[in-house]
Structures are given as C-alpha cells and as structure tokens.
Amino acid sequence: MFSNIIHSGFDLSLMMFLPLVGIVCLFVLRPNQRQWAWFIATLFAGATFAKSLVLLLAFDPTAKGMQFAEKISWIPAFGINYSLGIDGISIWLVVLTTFLTLVVVFASQTVTEKLRAYLTCLLLLETGMLGALLAMDGILFYIFWELMLVPMYFLIGIWGGKRRVYAALKFVLFTASGSLLMLVAIVYLANMCAQQLGQVSFAINDWVSLEFSHREELLLFSAFLFAFAIKVPIFPLHTWLPDAHVEAPTGGSVILAGVLLKFGIYGLMRFGVPIFPEAVIVFSPVLAWLGVVGIIFGALMAWVQTDMKKLVAYSSVSHLGFCVLGFAAMNKQGFEGAILQMINHGISTAALFLVVGVLYERKHTRLIADYGGLAAKMPAFATVFLIFTLSSIGLPLTNGFIGEFLLLYAGFSYNSVLGTFAVSGVILGAMYMLSLYRRVVFGPFDLKRNGDIADLSTNERLVFAPLIVLVFLLGLYPKPFLERIAVSSAQALYYLEQQPALELYRSGEIAFLSDSSYPAANEDTLLP
C-alpha cells in the first residue's frame, strides 16, 4: 500500500505549514483591527485550500500507493521519520479539511471576542488535522493527533457556551484516554520491528510486514480501536460528543463534525486494515452491530432533542454509524461508501451547524421552541436550510444519497438483518430532520420575539454558496470523487482478502477465531 512512491517534493509540508505561517503573521503584524486579523487568516486559509486543490488536480486517481511522498529522518535514535504521503483514502479528507477551515475562518467575522486568538486556534487546528491525515509515521501521526486536541480544547473552553469548562475537559479526557493506550501500542509495534526487522521503526509500511501472534494482534488492534472508536464516536463511547458540540462555538462545531470525527474511520483504514487485517475481521461483527446501534440510538436521541445543536450532534452519531457499518461490511461498496459518506457528512453537517449558528447569532437561543414561521421573514435562510436538511436525510440528487445508498447496499450484502435495521435509521433521519425543519421554518411566527430577525447577509450567503454547490455536485456527478477513492479502498480491501479468515467470516462460520497463522501481506503483490 505504501511502497509505490510517486512524485517527491515538499508540496505536502508546504500545505501543512501554511496555516502556521499565518499564525506567525497574525502575531508579528499585530493586527489591531479585527478586519485585518480576519483578512490575514482568510488569506492563509485560502492559500492552504488553493494548495490542496492543486494537489487534488495533480493527484493520479489510477496510481496505487502514496503520492507526493516526503521523508526526512527526524529522530534517528528512535527510528522516527518525518514522512508524509497522500492516497485515495486521505485526499478528499485533506481537501475537506482545508475547505471547511476556510469556510469557518471566513465565517468568523461574527466572533465578537478575542478574534485573533480564535483565528490562531483555527489555523493551528488545521495544521494538526492535515498533519494527522498526511503522516506516514506512527509517532508523527500521534503527535498531530494530540495536537488537534489542544486548539479544539481552547475553542470549546474560551468561546463555548455556559458549560464550556466541563465540555472542554470531557472532550480532552475522553479523546486522550484513547490515544494514550494507542501510544503504548505504537511503541510496542516499533519494538517488534526491532526484533523482527532488525531496527526500530515507526513507519507504517514497516509495520505492515510484521507478524503477530493471534493474541498480540487482537490486543494491539484493541488499543488502536479504542482510540478510534472514541473519535468516531462508536455507540457507548459517544457521550463526549453532544456536550462538546453543544458548548462549542459554531466554528468549533463545524470543524468537529466536519473533520475531527472522520479521524476514527480514517484511522481504522490507515492503521487497522493494513497492519491488523485479521483482528479487523475478528472485530468487525461487533463493529457492525455497534454501528447499527449507533444509527438507531443517535436518530432516536436526535428526535427528542429540544436544542437544535444537540439534535444535529446526535444526528452525527447516527450518520457515522452508517460509516462504521460500511467499514465493518468489508466489501467494495462499504469501504468506498464509508469514505464518501465521511465527505458528505462533512459537508451537510457542517452546513447544518452553520445554519444553527445563523439563528443563534440573531436570537441567542438554540431552542427549537423559540423559533417558527421563519419562512416568511427569512426566505433565503429557509431555502438554504431546506437544501441541507434534504442533503442530510439523503434525498436522491443530493450528496447524502450516494453515500447512504452505497452503505446500505454494503450493509445488506453483509447481513440482511443489519441492513434492515440500518434502513430504519434513514427513515428516522427523515423524521427528525423534517420535523426540525417544520418546527423552525413553518408554523406560527412569533412576532414579539422574532419580529426583528433578518435574512441572510451577503457574507453568510457567500459562506453557504460553495457548500450548496458541493451538495449538488456530489449528488449529481459523484464519479470524480469515487474514482479517487476506488484504488486505495480496493488496496485496503486486498489486505483483508489475503486473510483466509475473511471467507469464513463472510460465510458466517466464525465470530471469533481460534489461533491461526495467516500469510503476511507481500508488498510485491499489492493488487490482484
């Protein structure tokens, strides 16, 4: 998966560190006026986005392996390298990251307090997210993985709502508890490299060729899985998410839902599948069931919320349950659908948080009951809201449909019972989203409370416009998107197909394996 290196240069580093340069500029130039700080940050977020688009255009959708790879020895004593690369699994997430950061930075004009610090956090967060997506070295990945926590912690803690301190601490402690165990596993893997390959190595492609005993593999994968499951979040570990979302400022929620949550599935694909294929297969029935529980639980919880932001937060749990199901189904549609759905969810949910943010800025309440009948006063807003509502429930011709369709297909071909349960998630999704829309946009208009409410400003229209374009672009013509995913997901799947266990698993003969030796993935024969 990582052996074919195409195109060397420092494009990825340049993109990754542009936001940091932006932070330096923010501090050196000391922009006293809000406008200037906003302008500098937008400039750098825009440049990063432009750079990622250039990479996207140069990305070869047919090539296997990592592209634009970079490698510099960093801490030779530990075998740690600064190595970056990009493939079909990460390319869209990278673009999504730079895009949403730009959107959020652009939309930050409404932040009234401590704007410069706010922008600094966003740009630092962008570097962290890009680094985690690009890192091809276990420690580098871990460093960026942790680096993402810090600015998000500040975003929630400083600009958050009433219970922000609690939510920020809960967020950090939950996510850190997973990643610390992952650190132990990472070190253990490097140490195994020393024993089996003769030198300590944190490179992911060295780890791929390691051989584990069955027990070892399950334990090591559990450590990774725990970290990723918290991030997704998979059902019983989701409790930090609603708190974090509700308390976070709009920008924080957008990034959290739009990008950060994707790192769970991304991690499973990047680390789980190639390194621990057997363990992934062993765990996948559990994951599939938890995914479905997440779909239904999230949807039911969303249905009963009175707070709009909480509703959208729980809908995230539900949507990501689909991704987990797709991943656990372990077939082509499942993998591609999971990656595509991550992008879709990034767009739709981010947009929904922005929609809620628009209302909150005007009336400082997120309770559904405080609104109603907005259609008359805010026609543009109502339209925008409708588009994203429909995209969120996966109406055909919007982006949500393609991903959900692939995932349901994957779910059914994996297990029809699970597929049936998952479909009920779609129905519930339509129920809670449409009822939200109805209660906010239609119904009686409260003149006394909302009489002075204004429609979308030009800036807000500019924020929403590209998101709307994407909703329809992905819905009408998903080919270029799927194309760039296909090769990498096929490669990931290939690792699994090397496992004799997969056939047994697919035919339903095993749930947990007895000890077995399995062929190590051979790097020469990457694709069938």
Binding site: W74, I75, P76, A77, F78, K114, I139, Y142, I143, E146, L147, L149, V150, Y153, F154, G157, I158, R164, V165, A168, L169, V172, L173, A176, S177, L180, L181, L183, V184, V187, Y188, A190, N191, A194
Partner: protein, 488 residues
C-alpha cells in the same frame, strides 16, 4: 591518592570562588541584589559549565578517584547549572520586603548548594556522595527559611531539616552495611566485590536503606510526606530549586550508584522499584488532583514525575532506561522551572504570599498577560506529555524503554496515570483562559512591564527550550546515551 587533576575539579573551584566573590562584593558594595549582581552570580554557573565542557568525551578522575567527571557528569552538570542560574535570575526582586532578598546570602548559599549537587553527581565514593548531599542540604535548609518573617517559611525549613537529617541517617546506615559486606566505599571496588560473590543479605539491606535515603531526597511515595509542606512553605524560587536541582542531583547520584556499583545485581530490586514507581506515579497524580494551592499541586506533580523517572531505573541495562531517565531529567527541569517561575508571579502580588498561592490566583491571566500565560500553558501541556513538547519526548523515551524491557503493564499504568495528570494540568489552563476575571477580588494582574528582565529571560529560555527539545531532541538524546555509557 597522589594525583590531583586540577582541570577535573575546575567547575567546583569556580563555584566556590564564585560564592566567595559574591560575598566580598556584597561586603564592599552593599547587599542590594541588583540585576547586574544577580547576573554576576549566574555567570559563575555559566562559567562552571564552560569549564566542564572538556568532559564531554573524556573521563577525568580527581582526588584519588573520589570524583569522576565524565560525560554523565557533564550532562547532569549542565542541567544542574542551568537550573541554578535560572533560579538565581528568578529570585531577583521576588520578595522585596524580606531581608534575604536584600542580601547576597541567597546567592552564596545557592552557589554552595550547587557545588554540593555537582559533587553528588560526580562522586565515586559513598562518603563523598554523602558529603555532597550534606553540602547541598544544609544550604537548602537555610534557603528554605529565607523568608524570615513568614511562619510558613520557618516551618518549612524545620520540616525539611528534620526529615532530611532522618533520611541522611538511613543513607549513612545503608552505606555502613554496604561497607560491612564489601569492605569498600569506592563504587568500582564495590562493583568488583559484588560481582565476585553472590550478594549477601546484609548487602541487600544496605542497598535497601540507601534506596530509602534517596527515596526521601527525590520524594518517592511513601517517603514524600515532607514535600508538599516544604515546597509550599519555602520561598517559591527555593521550591523551584528543590524541585529541579535537588531532585536532579539526587537522581544523578542514585543512578550512578545503582548502575556503577550494583549494575550486576540489578535484578535484586526489580520488584521494589516497580512497586515504588507505580505507587509514586498513581498516588502522586491522584493527590495532585484536589490541590487548591498551585505550589502544593506542583509539589505532588514533582512527586509523580519522580515516579516516571524511576521507571527508567527499572530497565537500566539493555533497554536504555538510564538514558531515558537522564533525558527526562532535562525535560522535567525545563518545564518545572517555568511552572515555579509563573507560580512566583501568582504569589507575588499580594501582601502575604502564603495566603495567595491558589491556582485561582491565575484567573484571567490569559488575557491580562498573554505571554506569561502562554509560557505557563506550554509548561503545563509539556508536563502532561502533550506533543510536540519536550515532556512528551521524555515520557515517550521512558515508555519505550519500559516496553523494550518487557514491562507492558507498567507502561500502561504510566500512561493512565499521566491521563490523570492531564486533568490537573489542564485545570491551570482552565483558570487562566476559561474563567472570567472577578472584579474587586485580589486577582493578580501583571502588566507586561512588571515582569523583571531577568524573569523574562528565564521564562523565555525555558519555554523555547521546552519547544526546541521537543521538536529536535536528537542531539540531546545522543548526549544522554553517551552519559549513561560513561557510567560503566
């Protein structure tokens, strides 16, 4: 006993001359500790470090083999002298109204204590180690009592003195038993005697007592009872000095003793070290959780960090635990210096510094003094082991050594206990940034101008070091490796 290699004892001589010079300057030009005067004292630390540069690669034994200055000494001298120089700079103008500040005694005692710390690290003979410890400790007893009109300061000195004497007694008794069973106090000779015969019970008891003695000095649980009280009561700069220099020196001497003299029987205390390090990490962090006082919190945090360092002792031999411990000492020193440096400002504003060392005193610091808060944030995140700061590299180094040595369980306990620590380190950040400042209460509000130049220099250097060694740790890792290699 005939050879006296003067180049080998030059750093010690520099410090002793330094303390005399500072004393003389104080006598002739008045006792006011101005910026230039403080710079003079810390310049001696720098000079001592420069004269030790030649030990990077070479070994010198001095005073008939009693002292051995090798790359291990060089590396730890660096940490100790850095800590001392920074403490000296930080102490300028921090307790203006108290007599000690106006006098140069502080500098003299500090330089003498530092000389003692260096003796401990370089000593090849148990009695010399003991002398080093006493030279360091006696000076620090006096320093603890520095704020003479504070009850707490006197109490702190008294506690430290009594318990310090207690631990010295343990140590001496242990040395005696070791001498009784090996007929030597020279580390190399002990190593020889130990490897030639199977260890006797009396020797093991001796080693056990020595471990207890050092356990007091580095405040491992259950020998930690003095630490929070003493750190809280002593003047903040002195607490910082104890947390950094005293601890580094004690760990250095401990490491040299364990690996040079008893390296051959390192299996004998595995269980003891395992247990001590686990309870120190876990209980230290748990007890830090509920502290209201910043200095007490830092005291418990320093206890917990001693537990981390001890993990390195457990896997000293092939797994590189010694190197990891040496690296961790540097990392820990930098972050802790910052923490105490900022704690100084949390306490400096009020009439009575002991009433106001609450974490709450840092309220709103993030917005009233952003740079100071940023530096404190760097320190807290680094102490919690968040990458890419030096604390992370240190913890990573230790954990890899422990895993390499086969102690997976210990590694997991270590990361979980550092998860606990994340909570209380972040609480400081919460207070600084997330809680609004309260009007009318005596919340410290420092303007940027109020920070003395010397303090700014120290905090800037330590913060940049915390970031720099986190990102580019390679060269220092090499030094740590070389240092430990020179021990055997």
């Amino acid at each position: 006993m005939s050879d006296i290699d003067f180049s080998a004892i030059l750093p010690f001589v520099v410090l002793l001359c330094g303390s005399l010079t500072v004393l003389l300057v104080g006598t002739f030009f008045g006792k006011e500790r101005t910026f230039s005067r403080v710079c003079l004292s810390s310049a001696y630390c720098v000079l001592a470090w420069l004269t030790s540069l030649e030990y990077v690669y070479g070994n010198h034994t001095a005073l008939g083999g009693f002292l051995r200055v090798d790359s291990f000494s060089f590396v730890l001298f660096g940490v100790i002298l850095l800590g001392s120089a920074m403490t000296l700079l930080l102490s300028q103008g921090t307790f203006r109204d108290q007599r000690l500040d106006a006098s140069v005694d502080f500098d003299v005692l500090m330089l003498l204590a530092t000389a003692g710390a260096m003796v401990m690290v370089a000593s090849q003979h148990l009695i010399i180690t003991f002398l080093g410890i006493e030279l360091l400790s006696v000076a620090v007893y006096a320093l603890c009592a520095g704020a003479r009109n504070e009850k707490a300061s006197a109490e702190s000195a008294m506690k430290y003195f009594i318990l310090g004497a207690f631990s010295s007694a343990f140590l001496l008794y242990g040395i005696l038993l070791i001498y009784a069973s090996t007929a030597s106090m020279q580390l190399q000779d002990i190593a020889l005697a130990v490897s030639s015969s199977s260890p006797k019970d009396i020797l093991l008891i001796g080693i056990g007592l020595v471990i207890f003695g050092f356990g007091f000095k580095v405040s491992l649980i259950p020998f930690h009872f003095w630490t929070p009280d003493v750190y809280q009561g002593a003047p903040t700069t002195v607490s910082g000095y104890m947390a950094v220099v005293v601890k580094v020196a004690a760990f250095g001497a401990f490491l040299r003793l364990m690996s040079t003299a008893f390296g051959n029987i390192s299996g004998a205390w595995t269980d003891l070290f395992w247990t001590l390090s686990v309870i120190t990490m876990v209980l230290g962090n748990l007890m830090a959780l509920r502290q209201e006082s910043l200095k007490r919190m830092l005291a418990y945090s320093s206890i917990a960090h001693a537990g981390y360092v001890l993990m390195g002792f457990l896997v000293m031999d092939a797994s590189g635990g010694g190197e990891a411990a040496v690296f961790y000492l540097l990392a820990y020193s930098l972050m802790t210096l910052i923490a105490f440096g900022v704690a100084l400002h949390a306490t400096a504003g009020s009439e009575n510094q002991y009433d106001n060392d609450k974490i709450e005193a840092l309220r709103d610091l993030g917005w009233s003094n952003p740079l100071l808060a940023l530096v404190m944030t760097v320190s807290m995140l680094s102490l919690a082991g968040i990458p890419p700061l030096v604390g992370f590299v240190g913890k990573f180094y230790l954990i890899s050594a422990v895993i390499k040595g086969g102690y997976i369980g210990l590694a997991i306990i270590a990361v979980l206990s550092s998860l606990i620590s994340l909570y209380y380190y972040l609480r400081v950040v919460v207070v600084m940034y997330f809680l609004p400042g309260t009007e009318g209460k005596s919340v410290v509000r420092l303007d940027g101008n109020e920070l003395l130049l010397s303090h700014r220099v120290v905090l800037a250097i330590a913060a940049l070091g915390t970031i720099y060694f986190g990102l580019f740790s390679s060269s220092y890792i090499e030094y740590a490796r070389m240092a430990v290699k020179s021990l055997t």
